[in-house]
């Protein structure tokens, strides 16, 4: 914890500027995803002549990919715990594991999208389809950005520049990553598990 000590005592509140910035950003993101989720909810029964959400969602498949993303939060927090102890090797392993689980989730999303496309649910099929792809797409882009950040950390770890004193960098990427995970916890329940209209 000695690495955090200097940052903590220089500011008025004793909080690191970087973390405060990240939390402000996450507070702001709540309103972004809230808007997208509302846009989905008001449009979910407007499937026009296309497939209805209740007919097309594959709950068992999505459950698996949701579980994958949930577990990536565990590996993320273990990565942080490792670097705070100064354990660079384990930090790198857990970061890689997190990126891998995230990629698995994105792979699942790509599979889901292509399946829906084959079943006749394109982006322009109906207000429902537009809203669905926009919401989950935005989330997917967030996960992808997270993967890029994780891989950048991994690369700088291999270059030897990610040290115990930089643990805050891992912590901040972790905050972002967990946030993307809690958004998915919300989406998984409200969009997938709560019964959707059928045609």
């Amino acid at each position: 914890m000695s690495s955090e000590a200097h940052a903590v005592h220089d500011t008025t509140t004793g909080i690191s500027n970087n973390k405060l910035l990240m939390w402000a950003f996450l507070g702001s993101e709540c309103l972004l995803f809230g808007g997208l989720i509302s846009a989905y909810l008001v449009n979910r029964s407007r499937f026009h002549t296309g497939p209805a959400p209740g007919d097309i969602f594959d709950i068992p498949f999505t459950s698996v990919s949701s579980f994958v993303l949930l577990m990536s939060s565990l590996t993320m927090v273990l990565a942080l715990s490792a670097i705070q102890r100064g354990d660079i090797r384990n930090n790198r392993i857990w970061l890689l594991a997190t990126a891998l689980l995230g990629s698995l989730f994105i792979g699942g999303q790509v599979y889901e999208f292509t399946t829906f496309l084959r079943e006749g649910l394109g982006y322009t099929t109906s207000p429902f389809s537009s809203a669905f792809f926009t919401l989950t797409g935005f989330h997917g882009v967030h996960v992808s950005i997270g993967i890029v950040m994780l891989m950048s950390l991994v690369i700088s770890s291999y270059r030897g520049t990610l040290k115990q004193k930089n643990s805050e960098a891992v912590e901040i990427v972790g905050l972002y990553w967990h946030f993307v995970d809690v958004v998915w916890i919300f989406i998984f329940t409200v969009i997938y598990l709560v019964p959707s209209p059928t045609s």
Partner: protein, 103 residues
């Protein structure tokens, strides 16, 4: 200044890895319970049950994995303000669109 500094000077003792794994197992169990509602009909309590489980999962990730339990209360305030504002305004929007009554 002193009061603010005191408020944030919570101990930075983070939980052990074992604790993190325990919480992940708890999250996994809740997720299993959530998914089971797809296979087992539990009647009118379905949606309340799903909401409660969602909130519990959300809470655990935010409190433990995002360290809100241990970190400055200011972070929690930022996040909760965003959450409450979002919930409030968007619930009103959904109400105006008669979403709850199946409009």
């Amino acid at each position: 200044m002193s009061t603010e500094a005191a408020a944030t000077n919570t101990d930075h003792e983070h939980p052990t890895d074992a604790k993190y794994v325990q919480i992940a197992i708890l999250l996994a169990v809740i997720t299993a319970a959530e998914v089971s509602t797809y296979f087992v009909d539990i009647g009118p309590v379905l949606i309340p049950a799903l909401m409660v489980m969602m909130v519990v999962k959300f809470f655990y990730v935010a409190a433990w994995f995002m360290h809100l339990r241990f970190d400055s209360v200011l972070f929690t305030r930022f996040f909760v303000t965003g959450l409450i504002l979002a919930t409030a305004v968007y619930c009103i929007v959904l109400t105006v669109f008669e979403f709850w009554t199946g409009g």
